[in-house]
């Protein structure tokens, strides 16, 4: 007899009310990414961080028109705005005026506004690309270490230890300071920026590597990996189809949080005088010049603020992203 309670046949389609509103109709499922995105949209702080980031990216992309609209060529000297004896800007507040919205630099009278706008591009470029380098290395190393384990893991773990124990800044200085001028088909500032990206990225991969390794270790133990293996999947399939999609969220989150760190790293290198070659403006470089003119607040404050706002915006956004992807935060 078929008991009235038995409905285990083909008709048991009670939708999980927890997640589905209109039962049965919404055929397209909502992926975790979309859910995270919806959560993110509700997080006003993170969103405003994101907006600032987008704004900064736009500024970086449209630096040239912005500068031609509001300022002067960032490299152009304006001796007329400088007191020839003290070399300090003429006028109050570092020479701030409609002509020079944020004042001018001492000595050569370059327009601080346009230098800061132009500097955004370098900061973001290096921040982004260096992060990509570290994400790339970190992910590959982390996945390999986590997935294959054993002695591979041991070796990669030791390598990460070595990187951790390196006084990174000191090394970066030593390296950047003695970099050759031509190579890899690049020269001059192009090579310099490429080198900076590589060095910064190369030195910060272990942070991502560790996270990816940890995640991979735990993912590897998840039963869906065994499921794939029992279906006869090769390592490549398991790595790329099963594990990597699950790593995307943490990688994205930590990449977002690594970008500001790398921007700070670049600024620190520029501050120590081993950043991008002058006269290309960078925020860290401007700060390092400002040290000599610390009595000029505008010279110190604006590049400092630019770094601060950029880093803060990325941090806010990255933080929100992490919360959005991590249901525990709710």
């Amino acid at each position: 007899m078929t008991a009235p309670l038995d409905v285990s046949g083909a008709s048991a389609q009670v939708p999980p009310e927890a997640t589905l509103a209109g039962a049965g109709r919404a055929v397209q499922g909502r992926s975790l990414t979309r859910i995270a995105w919806m959560r993110l949209r509700r997080d006003k702080v993170a969103l405003s961080g994101g907006i600032v980031v987008i704004f900064l990216i736009l500024v970086a992309i449209f630096a040239t028109p912005i500068i031609s609209l509001f300022g002067h060529d960032p490299l152009e000297f304006h001796q007329e705005a400088i007191d020839p004896n003290t070399l300090l800007p003429l006028g109050d507040f570092g020479g701030m005026s409609a002509e020079y919205p944020l004042g001018v630099e001492p000595v050569n009278g370059r327009d601080i506004f346009s230098r800061i706008v132009a500097g955004a591009g370098i900061s973001l470029l290096i921040g982004f690309l260096a992060t990509m380098v570290s994400v790339l290395i970190g992910t590959v190393m982390g996945v390999i270490a986590g997935y294959f384990g054993g002695w591979v893991d041991q070796i990669i773990g030791r390598i990460m230890d070595v990187f951790l124990a390196f006084p990174l800044l000191v090394f970066a200085i030593a390296l950047v300071g003695v970099m050759p001028n031509e190579g890899f088909g690049l020269e001059g500032n192009g090579l310099r920026i490429a080198m900076l990206i590589f060095i910064i990225g190369f030195f910060s991969w272990p942070s991502i590597g560790r996270i990816v390794r940890g995640q991979t270790l735990s993912l590897r133990e998840r039963e869906f990996v065994d499921a794939a293996r029992s279906l006869g999947a090769r390592n490549g399939y398991i790595l790329f189809r099963e594990i990597l999609p699950n790593l995307m969220a943490p990688i994205l989150v930590y990449a977002t949080l690594l970008i500001p760190a790398n921007i700070l790293f670049e600024a620190a290198l520029s501050f120590l005088g081993v950043g991008v070659n002058p006269p290309t403006p960078t925020w860290g470089g401007m700060l390092s010049e400002a040290v000599r003119f610390y009595t000029l607040p505008h010279f110190v404050i604006f590049p400092g603020l630019a770094i601060f706002i950029t880093v803060l915006a990325f941090n806010l956004f990255g933080d929100g992203l992490r919360d959005a992807f991590d249901p525990r935060a709710h």
Partner: protein, 341 residues
Amino acid sequence: MSFLDVKDLKIHFPTDDGLVRSVDGLTFSLERGRTLGIVGESGSGKSVTSLGILGLHKGGRAQISGEIWLDGEDLVSMPAEQVRGLRGKKMAMIFQDPLSSMHPYYTVGHQIIEAYRIHHDVSKQVARKHAIDLLGRVGIPEPARRVDSYPHEFSGGMRQRAMIAMALSCDPELLIADEPTTALDVTVQAQILDLMRDLQREFNSALIIITHDLGVVAELSDDILVMYAGKCVEYGTADDIFYRPEHPYTWGLLGSMPRLDREPTDRLLPIKGSPPSLINVPQGCAFHPRCPYSERTEGRASAEVPDLAPTERGHLVRCHLPRAERRELWENEIKPVLETQ
């Protein structure tokens, strides 16, 4: 008035997604020396109920209403500090997962001593003696040595024993055990259940045992409360629930269980669908989307919440079906399927 009287207890959690009505109007009572079993599926509000009694539901911005009378005092309206004073001393709790419920950084002894010294002004040495005593009483071999072990050095069963020792350290009059054996193997589960029964007899405390295993309830309970979606759907003595169940959900639970004590049936009789989320409890009778008999109520099932109506001898059932029909269904359709195949 009974020793423990819970009246119309409601515990709701406002969350981003809506109001979670974890416990929605629960009423029951319990005397010293008796055991109440609360059964229900996962997420039906069993744990929240027990935490509510101890005043530990405060996790989020919980809203609690109703009355909880313990030995003549209403815990709901009592100041939090006073409830804290009762916790551990007058009422104590045993949790499901003994590993995560014990602090990993402190020795078992330390944790028992701590529990004892909160309510007793004694020296560490005295408390330690007491802890060793207790560990011995709950059947841990070599208690004097084991008192200095860390929880992770214990096996699952020993941890649960230690947990019980901790709960009993101040001779509580009300003991709540939330799924005390779910994480344990059968053989160990049997040991723990025996232990709890013995200890309850010895201390004459009131015991609430929460579980989703009908077998465990049957082993220990005098009374049984079946919960579904934050509400009590059936409440009665163990005999009522096992031999004269009147709620379709209870039938479903019984039908879902393969039983060792009977000839194996050909098929199990599951309940269709899955339990509702407590944010979106179905309108009317919360069980009606899964209930095979909901059509027989002429639409009332999805419109109004049925009352928890008494049948004879304090057996309470929350169902729209007329009593006679329920009994008929049980006697004629359900019981034979469960017992004869």
